[in-house]
């Protein structure tokens, strides 16, 4: 019997779902939050690590000259520059790693096959996870920004910059998500979860200039930086928060347009690749293997 005949024989006709999709996404988000809240010490560790990072870069800023930061257009405070990088690093991790992490965890616990066999679309479960990580990262942002202000960071916080920040964060996640989807496809294919996602996050953060302006990179490395959506996300968020400008400012707007182009072009490609790998894994029955 061929694989296709077997699938047809075992497949059930799709029933009309009564439950609202948003409710399902909400439920998936609550599910992830409940699981994560069980590991309170890990959450404590996560927060403490970030706070120590803020203090480390605060101390480092005392021996940093402002010239290069200023030349790149980010004012004269290295601490402010680094603080924004640290504050949004959780959103970066969420968009680049949440899907691969979800798949890897389900693979590891042997529940991936079961979850994917339920009538609920995996995209819904994933969106729920993504929402959880988005809210989790927002808590970090809410803690880090006031802490940075207390330590003397020069951030302009008003209604306009806050609205701009929200829009830019959504664009950041949308434009980086395709890389996260490709990373998840690699997890399904190669069964090597954490290292791939982790490496992608670090390579992205390095070339996009999380801890230093990309203007100090050699020109060949800068070309690579300019190919990453995160470079534009970081630039727009920094420029807006440091100078207090809205999304309509030409520099921020051009960054936002690049992020939109990235999302529109790369999202269908990433989904197509993921779907192919996912269908292959289902056909071969290798979803639960790790």
């Amino acid at each position: 019997m061929s694989i296709d005949a077997l699938i047809e024989l075992l497949s059930e006709p799709k029933k009309v779902e009564d439950t609202n999709t948003f409710r399902k996404i909400w439920a998936a988000m609550i599910r992830r939050a409940k699981i994560r809240l069980n590991y309170k010490t890990w959450m404590l560790f996560d927060f403490a690590t970030t706070l120590f990072m803020v203090f480390t870069y605060f101390l480092l800023s005392f021996i940093i000259l402002p010239e290069d930061i200023s030349k790149a257009g980010y004012g004269s405070s290295y601490f402010t520059f680094a603080l924004i990088g640290i504050a949004i690093s959780h959103y970066i991790t969420a968009s680049l790693r949440s899907l691969s992490l979800t798949i890897r965890l389900e693979q590891f616990y042997g529940t991936l096959e079961t979850i994917l066999s339920t009538p609920t679309d995996f995209v819904i479960l994933f969106l729920g996870d993504l929402m959880y990580y988005f809210l989790y990262s927002t808590i970090f942002l809410i803690i880090i920004i006031p802490l940075g202000l207390l330590l003397g960071a020069n951030l302009v916080m008003n209604v306009i910059t806050l609205i701009t920040l929200v829009i830019l964060i959504v664009l950041l996640m949308m434009s980086n998500l395709p890389i996260g989807i490709l990373s998840a496809a690699m997890v399904l294919k190669f069964k090597q979860g954490n290292p791939i996602g982790w490496a992608l996050t670090w390579i992205n953060q390095f070339f996009a200039g999380t801890f230093f302006p990309i203007t100090i990179l050699p020109s060949f490395a800068r070309l690579f930086s300019l190919a990453l959506p995160l470079t534009y996300s970081l630039d727009a968020i920094r420029y807006s928060l440091i100078w207090g400008v809205s999304i309509l400012h030409p520099r921020v707007l051009s960054d936002a347009i690049v992020m939109i182009i990235y999302s529109v072009v790369s999202y269908p490609i990433a989904v197509k690749v993921f779907k192919k790998v996912y269908d292959d894994a289902r056909r071969k029955g290798s979803l639960g293997i790790y």
Partner: protein, 293 residues
């Protein structure tokens, strides 16, 4: 039958075990762990990327650092050497402090820890020692990789072989003291399973107060933080290591002697750590808690 009687009946005859057998088992425990690590080739490749990237980050940050400020704070103007030496030595912290507990969690969750701990005590000690040695091997590889990358990027390290010998002795001392904390914590972990996360947190705290990427003297503006930093052995180890490989300072200078004295004062922890570990292991064996997680 009491627990003690039960243990006596099931216990192995320890006399059948010589030193040679103990060492070969230690070697086997080290070697099998190494083989597992080398079987994950992608993980290996990513470790290399991690070494290079983390060094490169501080290489580029060094363009922003003011050499005059570093000199004012009592260090050499070479920030690449400063940061690379800090990152390299900090690679030992997690493996010394938290890796053993992490490994035990792995064995416990895989259901193999009870079998390991149920064998005679010599076997278990050799396993434990093999794991500590593996952690040291792995960290040393990353340590040398980081120093080499830094050197290739132009970090100004001393070229005096005697200074490198001194640096090697300092590293051994730092690892011994922090492994003692790790062994003690691993013992406590058998009873208190939440401890692993706290150990990872502890390594973050140690790295922060040790001044891995910033000069410790900056903490003088915050006296409480500065005094906390002085209570941590890693702070003294890193100062000794940096002064040795960057400035070529010998252990005879008063400041170096002071740091060395503080570090040596922590050495009795090594003996205490094994006692603490065995104490907790025995309690767990008697209460049947070895496989609980």
């Amino acid at each position: 039958m009491s627990v003690e009687e039960c243990l006596k009946v099931l216990k192995f005859d320890e006399k059948t075990h010589g030193k040679l057998v103990f060492l070969s088992r230690t070697w086997a425990s080290w070697y099998f762990q190494l083989k597992i690590f080398f079987s994950y080739k992608m993980q290996l490749a990513l470790e290399v990327i991690d070494i290079v990237l983390s060094t490169l980050i501080y290489y580029f940050i060094s363009f922003l650092v003011s050499p005059q400020d570093l000199v004012k704070l009592g260090y050499s103007p070479d920030y690449v050497a400063f940061a690379v030496s800090g990152i390299a030595l900090s690679r030992y912290i997690w493996t010394s402090v938290a890796r053993l507990a992490h490994k035990m969690r792995h064995e416990i969750s895989s259901g193999t820890f009870e079998s390991l701990a149920a064998v005679d005590i010599d076997n278990f000690r050799s396993w434990l020692l093999g794991q500590v040695l593996y952690g040291f091997t792995w960290s040393s590889t990353v340590f040398f990789g980081t120093l080499l990358t830094g050197f290739l990027l132009g970090a100004g390290f001393t070229r005096n072989p005697l200074m490198w010998l001194q640096a090697f002795l300092i590293v051994i001392l730092v690892v011994a003291v922090h492994s003692a904390i790790g062994i003690m914590a691993a013992g406590m972990y058998i009873m208190h399973k939440q401890l692993e996360t706290l150990l990872v947190l502890m390594s973050v705290v140690i790295e922060f107060f040790g001044g891995v990427i910033y000069p410790l003297s900056l903490l003088l503006n915050y006296p409480i933080l500065y005094y906390i930093a002085l209570l941590i052995p890693f702070t003294h180890g890193l100062e000794l290591f940096r002064r040795t490989i960057i400035d070529g300072a010998t252990l005879t200078s008063p400041m170096m002697l002071l740091h060395l004295g503080v570090l040596v004062a922590f050495i009795p922890l090594v003996y205490i750590s094994f006692k603490v570990f065995e104490h907790y292991l025995n309690i767990a064996k008697k209460k049947g808690l070895l496989s609980v997680y």
